[in-house]
C-alpha cells in the first residue's frame, strides 16, 4: 500500500476545512490508512497551522521557508518533489491552488493525475477506482487510475464528508532542511480584493438568480422586474458574467460570492458544483429550467420545467397581484 499524503491549505494560522475532507478521502482509498499531512509556509502562522490540525494524521510534515510565505504553486511543487518518495499518493483540494499545483506536480513525480474527484471506491490491484463528472455535472464517469508509480489526486471541495477519527494528533516532523533553496520564475505580487458592487447579494433573503438560460442581455430585465416586485436582488452564475450581462459582484459561486438567502430562485441555471458551492445555509431552492435533466433538479427543493422567457413574465404578473402592486 503506497503512503498517502494530504497537502493542507491554511490561512492565518488555521488549517482549512479541506484538511478533514482529504482525511476522509484517504480513508476511502484504504480504511486503515493513516495519512501524513504536509504544510508549507513560514513563521508563527505555519507553527499555529500545524497545531490547529485535528486528529487523524499520523505525521505532520512541516516545511518552513520564507519563500513559501505565500503559497506559490511553482515553489510548493519544488518543495514537494524534494521530500516525497516515488510512488506516494498525494491528495490536494481541487481549488484555485490545486488546479495550479497538481498537474505539473504529477509530471515531476512521474505519477498519475486525477482531477476533481468526487468519490473513491477503493483500490483494485494497481488501480484506484474514482468517480468524476463531465459536462458541468450532466454525466458522471468511473475512472481507473494506475497508481503503480504513485498519484496526485485533486479532491472536489465538499464532496467527502469528514469522518470522526480516534487517532491522536500526529507528531510534527520538520522537513525544512530537506527542501533547501527555492527559486521561482513566477512571482506573487499582491492580491486584489474584489470590488463591492452596487447591490450586495449576500444581504438578501430572496435571490432571483439567472444563468445561461436567460439567453441574452436584454432578457436580464425580466429577472430585474421580478426582483423589484418581490424586494429581492438579482444574482447570477458564471456564464452571465463571462458574457458581460451582469457585474462580477453579482456572481454566486466558488469564484464569486457566497450567499445565504432564505429562498434561492435558480432561473436557467444548470447547477454546476462551482455555482452550488457559493450557496450556503441550505436555502429553499426553487429551480426553473427547460432541460428536465439539468443537474440543478437533483439539489432543488421544487422544480419547474419551463421556458424561462415565458415563465418569468407570468411570475412577475402574479407577484404584482400577490403583493398588491399595480402593473406598470
Amino acid at each position: 500500500m503506497p503512503r498517502i499524503f494530504a497537502y493542507i491549505v491554511h490561512k492565518t494560522g488555521v488549517a482549512d476545512d479541506s484538511a478533514a475532507e482529504l482525511l476522509a478521502a484517504a480513508k476511502k482509498i484504504d480504511a486503515t490508512a493513516i495519512p501524513a499531512a504536509i504544510l508549507t509556509g513560514c513563521g508563527p502562522e505555519l507553527e499555529a497551522a500545524c497545531g490547529s490540525l485535528g486528529s487523524g494524521f499520523g505525521e505532520i510534515w512541516k516545511v518552513a521557508n520564507t519563500a513559501l510565505a505565500y503559497p506559490n504553486a511553482e515553489l510548493v511543487r519544488q518543495a514537494l518533489v524534494r521530500i516525497l518518495s516515488p510512488g506516494s499518493i498525494v491528495l490536494v483540494p481541487h481549488d484555485h491552488f490545486g488546479i495550479d499545483l497538481s498537474p505539473g506536480l504529477s509530471i515531476k513525480l512521474n505519477s498519475a493525475f486525477a482531477s476533481d474527484v468526487l468519490a473513491i471506491d477503493g483500490i483494485e490491484g494497481n488501480f484506484l477506482k474514482l468517480v468524476r463528472q463531465e459536462f458541468g455535472g450532466q454525466v458522471s464517469t468511473h475512472v481507473r487510475c494506475d497508481i503503480s508509480s504513485g498519484a496526485v489526486i485533486n479532491i472536489r471541495p465538499g464532496a467527502f464528508k469528514p469522518v470522526p477519527s480516534v487517532a491522536a494528533a500526529g507528531l510534527v516532523v520538520d522537513k525544512s532542511s530537506e527542501v533547501g533553496g527555492l527559486t521561482a520564475r513566477r512571482r506573487y505580487l499582491e492580491t486584489i480584493v474584489a470590488e463591492a458592487g452596487d447591490v450586495d447579494i449576500t444581504k438578501h433573503n430572496l435571490l432571483v438568480s439567472i444563468g445561461r438560460g436567460i439567453q441574452e442581455k436584454d432578457n436580464v430585465g425580466l429577472a430585474e422586474e421580478l426582483a423589484e416586485v418581490l424586494g429581492a436582488a438579482v444574482s447570477c452564475s458564471r456564464p452571465v458574467v463571462d458574457a458581460k450581462w451582469m457585474e462580477k459582484s453579482r456572481q454566486v459561486g466558488s469564484s464569486g460570492k457566497t450567499v445565504k438567502p432564505k429562498v434561492y430562485l435558480a432561473c436557467g441555471i444548470s447547477g454546476a458544483f462551482q455555482h452550488l458551492a457559493g450557496i450556503k445555509g441550505s436555502p429553499f431552492l426553487i429551480a426553473i429550467n427547460k432541460n428536465p435533466k439539468a443537474p440543478i433538479f437533483q439539489v432543488a427543493d421544487v422544480g419547474i420545467v419551463d421556458d424561462l422567457l415565458e415563465f418569468l413574465p407570468e411570475l412577475t404578473n402574479k407577484a404584482r397581484e400577490f403583493r398588491g402592486v399595480a402593473a406598470k
Binding site: G104, S111, S115, V139, H142, C145, L189, P239, G303, I304
Partner: protein
C-alpha cells in the same frame, strides 16, 4: 511575440443535452453539435489581442481526428496566422499526460514565447496546460483572467476565491491556462469561415513529431474513463406539473412561506 494556443473540439453544451447512450459506455454522440471548447476560444481571442498590441504571430494547434479542422478554420477566421492539426491513430485514447506529451513535441518544433490553453474542457480535467509546462520546464499559471506584457515578462492575474485576483509576474516562455470571461471573443460568421477555406492547415502525424508511440495512446494512459453513468439522484426536486399560472402561484406561496419576502 510568437504565441501558440492549444484548442480542442468538444460537444457544445449550450447546444446539446448530454445523455448516456444505450450501452452506457459513452454519451450519445449521434447528432451532437460540436464546437471549440469555450475556454479555448477565450484563449485564442486573448492571443490575438496580445499579438495586435505587441506584434508577432498566433498559431492554433489541436490534437484530434480530421474533424479537428473545423475548429481550426474557425480560429483562422478569427484571425489566427497559422493552424496545425496533430493527428495519428496512435494518439487515440491518450490521457491528459499523453496529450501533453504530444503537444510538447509540437512545441519543440517551433519557437514560442507564450503558450495558452483554455482552463478546462467541458469533458476535461484542467490538466494539460500545467502538465505541458512541467514537461517543458516552463513556468505556469492557471485560471488567468488578465495579461499585460511588460519588459519581456508578463503580469497576469489569476482568478481566486471570492472574485479576488492574485497578481503575478511570470517570465517568458511560459504556459498560461485562460479562464472564461477574460475578454469578449469576436464573432465569426459563416462568411468569415468561407474566406479562410483555402488557407492551408498543416497536418502532422506521430512520425512528423518524433512522438514516442509507447508514451501515448490508450495503452500508456494512467487514467482511463471506464464508463459514463448518471448517479441515482437523492430525493431530487418536487416537480410542479401544473399550468404556468398555477406553478407561478405555487412558487409565490413557497417564497412567502419560506421567508423570502421578509
Amino acid at each position: 511575440m510568437e504565441i501558440l494556443v492549444c484548442a480542442r473540439r468538444v460537444p457544445d453544451t449550450s447546444e446539446n443535452e448530454i445523455e448516456l447512450n444505450v450501452a452506457g459506455n459513452d454519451i450519445e454522440r449521434e447528432e451532437l453539435v460540436y464546437s471549440v471548447n469555450e475556454a479555448d476560444n477565450y484563449a485564442v481571442e486573448e492571443a490575438l489581442q496580445i499579438r495586435d498590441r505587441v506584434g508577432g504571430n498566433v498559431t492554433v494547434v489541436t490534437v484530434d481526428g480530421e474533424d479537428g479542422e473545423e475548429i481550426l478554420r474557425r480560429e483562422l477566421a478569427m484571425g489566427a496566422n497559422h493552424a496545425a492539426l496533430v493527428s495519428d491513430d496512435a494518439f487515440t485514447g491518450s490521457d491528459g499526460r499523453g496529450i501533453a506529451i504530444i503537444l510538447k513535441t509540437f512545441v519543440e518544433k517551433g519557437h514560442y514565447d507564450l503558450i495558452l490553453t483554455g482552463v478546462q474542457a467541458d469533458d476535461g480535467a484542467a490538466q494539460v496546460g500545467g502538465m505541458l509546462a512541467a514537461m517543458l520546464d516552463y513556468p505556469f499559471a492557471s485560471l488567468v483572467n488578465s495579461i499585460t506584457v511588460e519588459d519581456g515578462k508578463l503580469k497576469v492575474s489569476r482568478e481566486i476565491e471570492g472574485g479576488n485576483r492574485e497578481m503575478n509576474e511570470i517570465d517568458l516562455p511560459c504556459v498560461l491556462s485562460i479562464q472564461t470571461g477574460i475578454n469578449e471573443p469576436r464573432y465569426v460568421g459563416m462568411r468569415g469561415i468561407r474566406q479562410v477555406a483555402s488557407v492551408p492547415i498543416a497536418t502532422l502525424a506521430a512520425s512528423d513529431l518524433s512522438v514516442d508511440a509507447n508514451a501515448v495512446g490508450e495503452a500508456a494512459a494512467k487514467v482511463r474513463r471506464v464508463d459514463y453513468f448518471v448517479p441515482a439522484s437523492g430525493k431530487g426536486a418536487e416537480m410542479l406539473h401544473g399550468s404556468r399560472e398555477e406553478n407561478a402561484d405555487r412558487i409565490l406561496e413557497l417564497v412567502a412561506a419560506k421567508g423570502g419576502l421578509k
